[in-house]
């Protein structure tokens, strides 16, 4: 009976409906991408934004438009799907179906905490204490400057870190910095270094319009939502591909970017050694899958251009809004 009360309360309805609304949204978006063969990452990303953003506001928005939406009459006569009807079914007359939903939510929260929240907090706590050892070797600086000189955006801070590992990443904010390790510079030729830096500079330019940060905050609000968890990762993957495209538009050398990406591919032998690492091993596999996806896309070449994208976007968005209105 307590579950029934909760499911009929405002927080309960928000929780369940935001989850179901994002599920419907992801189904429609995924099929739309297949039907219209939308391959351009920037367009794919725009459609995926709907899945993360819309469920955050859908329930309160619908209630403002029609306060009677959740009432009994609506549930019985107008709704396409009444979630309470399904969630209060009792399996063998004892266990409500809603328990399954709560287990899924609990697992999602655990994944969110372990994989995203705790590492971010840890990084924030350690950011003041941990000093990266910067390289003073002029050879590295000279190579970096030479690579940057060929890019349209040269006014970028690059910090060379003394480390054997292959690492390159950039920070966001006003004073963005590209961090690159000496180990990676040693392993790349000049063209490959230019491609790697171009990709990071593309990230910095795109982060000046902090859309991805807004999406991240929406994702944090939906910390319990497994669909948002997956979809946010897909958006980040699309972001990588967008930056690949920008880098290629500057360097005109997709083949070089492919070679550069191959340097980040963790070899099978190394993965086998790491089998016992648990979470780390999963991370490495997903890292490899992302790199492989990016390489495959570049090797296949540019997909067909998409005509009437905004009409398609509107069709997807309006069908998500209308269908979800009738899910209570």
């Amino acid at each position: 009976m307590k579950i029934f009360y909760f499911l009929n309360s405002f927080p309960g309805q928000y929780l369940v409906q935001s989850l179901v609304h994002s599920l419907i949204a992801v189904i429609i978006v995924d099929f739309a991408l297949i039907i219209w063969r939308i391959e351009k990452p920037s367009l794919r990303q725009r459609l995926r934004f709907i899945v993360v953003a819309f469920p955050v506001v859908s329930f309160p928005l619908y209630q403002v438009v029609n306060p009677e939406r959740g009432n009994t009459y609506f549930r019985l006569n107008e709704a396409l799907f009444d979630t309470t009807r399904l969630l209060t079914i009792e399996i063998w007359g004892k266990v409500p179906v809603s328990i399954i939903l709560f287990i899924i939510i609990l697992l999602t929260v655990v994944v969110f905490l372990i994989q995203e929240f705790v590492p971010v907090v840890k990084q924030f706590m350690e950011s003041g204490n941990e000093e990266l050892e910067q390289s003073d070797d002029p050879h590295y600086k000279e190579r970096v400057m030479r690579a940057l000189a060929a890019l349209p955006e040269r006014d970028v801070n690059v910090s060379v870190i003394e480390d054997e590992d292959h690492l390159i990443f950039s920070t966001t904010g006003r004073n963005s910095v590209v961090y690159i390790t000496t180990g990676l510079i040693d392993d790349l030729d000049d063209e490959q270094l230019k491609a790697a830096l171009a990709h990071e500079v593309a990230h910095i330019i795109r982060n000046r319009r902090p859309l991805l940060i807004v999406v991240f905050f929406l994702r944090v609000i939906m910390f319990y939502n497994p669909v948002t968890l997956v979809e946010f990762r897909r958006i980040v993957e699309e972001e990588e591909k967008i930056c690949d495209d920008i880098a290629i538009s500057w360097t005109q050398r997709p083949d070089v970017l492919v070679e550069t990406l191959n340097k980040f591919y963790i070899q099978e032998e190394s993965l086998k050694d790491n089998r016992r690492k648990g979470f780390e091993s999963i991370e490495e596999y997903s890292h490899n899958m992302l790199i492989k996806g990016r390489i495959d896309r570049l090797v296949m070449g540019e997909g067909k251009s998409v005509r009437w994208f905004w009409i398609k976007f509107l069709a997807v968005f309006s069908s998500i809004v209308i269908i979800n209105y009738y899910i209570v």
Binding site: E68, L76, L86, S319
Partner: protein, 175 residues
Amino acid sequence: MVRELKGFFYFLILVVAIVGLLKLMNLISGNLHKGYLGEFKSYEEVERVLNIKEIFRPAYLPQNMLWPPAHIFAQSSPYVTIISEYSDKDSGEIALLIIQTEGRAYYRRKELELVEVKEKTSYSINNVKGELEVGTCGDGSPCSRLSWQADRYRLVIALKAPPFELLRIAESISK
């Protein structure tokens, strides 16, 4: 051009398929959940289908109220609830609401919701203490609401009128 139009056609099929699937799931879950909320034509049907023996009904209704109720919603699971909505003869709007529930009376009707409570007082209905609220509804017309406990049921009556008629309805209610 033809390829694009084909795409829109396939997308339309997708939307129709999702709507159909949702309706089907709703139907199946309704059939699996015996006793879950449904709409009934009469109190007798509620008795027969849900096997609810105790149904509180009013013996008195104001003259402007239509009999039988415009809507009767009822459930026996997860707890017994019967919601009766009566409409006004002239306007056709829902003007009287009677809720009988073992749980919480969370059901709301916008037309009968008190947006301003002018007076809140105790009132005795057939020797049982209840709570009477008098005020105005969203459209500014006078509204009143009375709630009390009758055995294991919570009873709530909301009327789009001053409390005089509401109290007469409440006193006439019996199993």
